[in-house]
Amino acid sequence: MQYLQILVNGIVLGALYACLAVGFSLVWGVLNVINMLHGSFIILGGYLAFFAWHSFGIHPLLALPFVAAILYGIGYVTQLMVINRVVSQPVLTTLTLTFGLDLILYNFMTVYYTATPRRVTLNLGHIDIAGIFMPIDRLFGMLLALLMTGLLYVLLRGSRIGRAIVAVRMDGAAAALMGIRIDRVYAITFGIGALMAGAAGAIFSMVFPITTNLTGDFLGKAFVVCVIGGLGSVPGALVGGLALGIIESFAGQMFGPQHALTVGFVLMLALLVVKPTGLTGIKGYE
């Protein structure tokens, strides 16, 4: 029964991880850019949701669309105005650039919001099924995370712009022949990446206290999920996220919670070396 509880905890965590990482994965897969801003985007989304609730009493569920829209706008403009200028350059350039942008965003967030941990406390109580304990806000967070990830999947599979994003990822030149403007699709993709980060942040703020100190941790999770699940696909992020959640949950139980993170990273390093394309991996970018 204890293992079942750990497994359930892992799945809840994993769903959140999938949502957290899927935007990062999409950006890496389509643009071939490692977005160091992703962690700060998550916290920004969380803070916006928190302050909407704290200052104006807006329920996070209601704030979520607005948070998403704001983050999308920020992402879109950032890509179109800044990152597109060097998007085809080597990773040292693009990674350093996004890191520089992250320093700016991070700084403004700490100045305006300070690093105090904040949390939207909804006090929804908990449920107890067959000995498995589950706070309802967590359950709610998990479902929201899965919903957002699912929506992204539907968007990529079923919409005109989703088809264009996949086409650009698979074959840029052929996509151009379809009349697709690559730079616009890059901006849209980066916007979606930021949107998903913001949504994940808003969801996180209902489940855990969040602070700017966590940006690095979140970014690290996104790395690990991507390497486990492979780049640029929603199912990959879901597999990677759930795998990481479950592994962390069990590792925390076995070695103590402070080692959970280590296990994830060691796993990722090992996987990088053995199979750099990820478990489900389609090779990125040809």
Binding site: N32, L92, T96, L103, V111, Q258, T262, V273
Partner: protein, 320 residues
């Protein structure tokens, strides 16, 4: 720039840094130590990131391991200088062993792998509480003397390391190894085809990039007397160092020194004047650097720039 000119500039710069205690207070001496230290780190990164062109973000892993290897050796009773050597050898061996594996990755995967290296080493050190003191950190035996004496001593130490790394850089730059690494940076497949054992060369470069980070880390631990995992394995350092190198000119001999000095002074000025926004300004500098000065300060054609400026001022000066 002729090689002799480079050496003269470097020598003058080292002398200038060494003379700081003669004419300025402890604040500036500390600054000089940090400049020397980051110059050493940046020149180290230059072996793998500049010469070889591999986007390594592992500096903090090597530095942090150096901190702990040195500190633990000292605690175990090894004399200080010997402890630094132990740290150097340990970190070098660590990089050599790991390099053969990590260097199979290219591009983005190598970058992520090197970042993961920092995280894993940090997490291992902070979880291994019984040995390392975990998150509480570790006290390192301090050397005897007044704060000024201690500072002057460590300025000497860091400058000595900086000179050694520079000399190694010059040697590498001038012989077969440096030539081969440049070939790999330019075109790895073509390098392979002209007969360069690329794997061996890359492992060499990776090890060189780690070696002195180990020494510097150990010396840093002895200087500050206290280390903890968050400070020793900071991803910020891992990215600051490449930025410094790019700022000066990656792959050049003098670039890392110029970049480290410029960056450190800039950062210090920003710290002093914009306490709240220093990070943001640092970020802005990085962004502007990447967008407008990707080749670094040393690769700007100043003569052409002057000529263009002169031409423009002449034109604007001429009657309409």
């Amino acid at each position: 720039m002729s090689p002799t000119m480079r050496y003269v500039i470097f020598a003058l710069w080292v002398i200038a840094l060494a003379s700081v205690p003669l004419w300025a207070g402890n604040y500036f001496v500390r600054m000089a130590i940090l400049i020397a230290m980051f110059s050493g780190l940046t020149m180290s990164w230059n072996f793998i990131g500049g010469f070889t062109g591999y986007p390594s973000f592992a500096t903090a892993a090597f530095f942090g391991l150096g901190c702990y290897a040195g500190a633990l050796s000292q605690k175990a009773g090894v004399p200080m200088v010997l402890a630094w050597l132990v740290a150097t050898v340990f970190v070098g061996a660590f990089a050599a062993a790991l390099g053969a594996i990590v260097l199979r990755l290219r591009g983005h995967y190598f970058a992520i792998g090197s970042i993961a290296l920092v995280e894993v080493t940090r997490l291992v050190i902070s979880s291994w509480g019984s040995l390392t003191g975990g998150g509480d950190g570790l006290n390192v035996p301090l050397i005897q003397g007044s704060p000024t004496e201690v500072a002057v001593t460590f300025l000497g130490v860091m400058l000595a390391i900086m000179v050694v790394v520079f000399v190694v850089t010059v040697i590498v730059d001038r012989n077969r190894l440096g030539f081969g690494l440049r070939c790999i940076q330019q075109n790895e497949d073509a390098a392979d085809m002209v007969g360069i054992d690329t794997t061996r060369y890359k492992v060499f470069a990776f090890t060189l990039s780690a070696l002195f980070c180990g020494t510097i880390g150990a010396a840093y631990a002895s200087w500050t007397g206290y280390i903890d995992p968050t400070d020793s394995f900071s991803i910020l350092m891992s990215i600051k160092v490449p930025v410094m190198c790019i700022l000066g000119g990656a792959g050049t001999v003098l670039g890392p020194v110029v970049g480290a000095a410029t960056f450190m002074i800039l950062e210090e000025v920003l710290w002093a004047n914009f306490l709240d926004y220093n990070r943001a300004i640092l970020g802005a500098v990085t962004v502007l650097l990447i967008l407008f000065l990707p080749g670094g300060l040393l690769r700007i054609n100043y003569r052409e720039l002057m000529a263009r400026y002169a031409a423009r001022s002449k034109r604007s000066g001429a009657p309409a």
